[in-house]
Symmetry: C2
Subunit: 203 residues, 2 copies
């Protein structure tokens, strides 16, 4: 079964620029991708990288210059088997998370991200579904599922919900991460617990 | 079995002041408390409210003017049976979440909050544990468990991890909430998806 992971090749994770240099962002994005793909492969999934530009990686790479929704929906249209779509910035997911998702009897399993986002979708019949990322995509996806008569399981996971998008999100990776991305982050930054919310800071 | 819920009676949820009036904050805090206590009772737990000031509520109320850690640790010291500590700002938790926590064979079950926090702890033997909230309390709690030779389960739940502390956290309650707190929030505020991250705004 395919797991599709969209990946922005150029200037990935630009909203981390408040803390990290462009090289650090690129390295962190790449290590998160490696960690996630490692987990998906451990669960027997065939990873397809949906890249925004040509990219050399040890996986099937599909390059598309379309926007995320168009590129994904084109891909779904060509599929008859179940597909899992996993964002490239959820480095806390574990093999157990993926296996739990795969076990669901529902037509659609959706793992919410923070702030109304969608981090993982497991789509049993891609012919009866399309994606609509951006904005409060979680609500949009529920609506699309309902319009198509699909049963839905909301996957309740802190790991899957933790997308690393802005500097404040790095705290989750720093504290809870077990993979190479977390190891790298801990090597270039530190935790600041001096005032109010815990933050990741550069030395 | 006891579930202890600490509750700040005066000026609760002050960090929501950027969006809500003091009356709205008080009402929302009270409804979140009601929702959470309803869930705990559905699971057969005896709720003890640990209040910062005298407070009339249909539950056992313990009033303490000590800081959160001292008040909780005093309470734990007097307990020989398992205790669950649940923060009063995690309104997304469900009876299934609580039952899953209760099923754990580990000595300590800990549900992380965002930003290194701790939202729920289930402590099998209160005599062998103490709490240390504030800062990166999740890491502190893991260390205390280790120092006391306790086995730990990290409870991986988006619901349990979503503490409503700052205005941006309200998005989770608005979108995912099923209880009365969410209903109230949706009656006084709206979702703004016009730019970047989704936000809750006042009309």
């Amino acid at each position: 079964m395919k797991a599709v992971v969209p990946f922005k090749v150029v200037n990935a994770k630009s909203r981390l620029a408040t803390l990290l240099t462009v090289e650090e962002r690129a390295r962190l994005a790449r290590l998160m991708l490696d960690d996630i793909i490692g987990v998906l492969r451990q669960c027997g999934l065939n990873v397809v990288l949906l890249a925004t530009a040509p990219f050399t990686y040890d996986a099937e790479v599909v390059v598309s210059d379309k926007d995320l929704n168009s590129a994904l929906n084109e891909l779904l249209k060509a599929e008859v088997e179940p597909v899992m779509i996993v964002m490239a910035d959820v480095p806390l997911i574990t093999p157990d998370n993926v296996r739990d998702i795969l076990k669901s009897p529902s037509d659609l399993v959706i793992a919410p991200g923070r702030g109304g986002g969608t981090n993982i979708q497991y789509i049993k019949d891609p012919q009866r579904y399309h994606v609509d990322y951006y904005g409060a995509s979680f609500l949009d996806h529920l609506r699309i599922a309902e319009d198509n008569g699909l049963t839905v399981e909301v996957f309740d996971s802190f790991n899957a919900s933790s997308d690393i998008d802005e500097a404040q999100d790095l705290v989750e990776l720093y504290i809870h991460g077990r993979g190479r991305a977390a190891e790298y982050l801990r090597s270039i930054a530190a935790l600041d617990i001096s005032k109010g919310r815990v933050r990741v800071v550069k030395d």
